[in-house]
Point group: C2
């Protein structure tokens, strides 16, 4: 007679964390929810700015009948971590050899400079060639100020970027990298 | 013979700064633009979060054909000033004797606590009885934690609020009051 409770096989769960089909934005949003829940940080994606050309009042309240998306001039995410102001942008590219600067809206690069000027922590989270990098705003600005190129070669990203590893919870613990880069010592 | 150029009367411009017909939100937005322009601070109104139930692609890009407004769980404005994280809400009330707490969305009051916990500067700019007050988040939370009342009596606001005066440029220099309350010494 067997004792099913005792000879029960260990369930082998092989979880490939990097392959849950979440895009970069979802990884970040999920991590931000974790940070808020655990009282680690308050970081949110800013709503996309909308222009409204037609709206009607219904019993559900005001409803937009004609609206369009405006180009943002600030970055996607901002918030507070360990008393510090944080702002960043998330980008994914399918390009393998270089990251086109056209991925940024006109005012965003100038805006990065401004955030740094005011003492904020500012960076870009970039997914390229299957790897997620944190690129410091200062490195990005430095590249742009000293190059006339319209795209950043991958070699620059490999040399200057800090790899953020995907994991289980939180899915993308980018604040660990922020700690190491910005808040040590 | 008269010399019109010489006897020209001084044009008397009597500008009543408090009476330009701008509502509180416009006063704040205009001041924020001034702060950004003069490199004093980066503070923006967050776009209202929108839910989209129908969108179509046109030659102008993606256009919203059915959208609704979501209740915000954070506050209206955030940004960075002198390296500090700032977040606040702007409210106007026609009530004369008390400010109803129903003016806040469900999660907003809890959110004020969170911002304070993370070391941010957090307050409410309240226009009531024709006067614009800055109410510290900590005072607001203190009131709520020690009262079961659903509205804040005006006497509390008069005692604990800091008056922000309207002026010419910027229209509402609330950062001057922030300096005095939070950043002195």
């Amino acid at each position: 007679m067997q004792y099913p409770n005792k000879i029960k096989k260990k369930t082998e769960k092989v979880i490939n964390y990097s392959n849950r089909g979440m895009n970069l934005e979802n990884l970040i949003n999920e991590s931000n929810e974790y940070y808020v829940e655990k009282d680690i940080a308050l970081i949110y994606k800013k709503p996309t700015p909308i222009g409204i050309s037609e709206a009607v009042y219904t019993n559900r309240g005001r409803v937009i009948k004609n609206g369009y998306f405006k180009a943002p001039s600030t970055l996607d995410y901002n918030g507070i971590y360990k008393g510090k102001y944080i702002e960043f942008e998330a980008k994914e590219t399918q390009n393998k050899t270089s990251f086109p600067l056209a991925n940024f809206h006109e005012h965003q690069l100038k805006y990065i400079k401004k955030v740094l000027h005011h003492g904020g922590i500012c960076f870009v989270i970039l997914k390229m060639n299957g790897i997620i990098y944190l690129i410091r705003g200062s490195d990005l600005i430095d590249f742009i100020d000293h190059n006339s190129r319209k795209s950043i070669p991958y070699s620059f990203i490999e040399e200057n970027g800090f790899v953020i590893k995907e994991q289980y919870i939180p899915a993308l613990d980018y604040l660990k990298v922020v700690d190491e880069i910005y808040l040590k010592g």
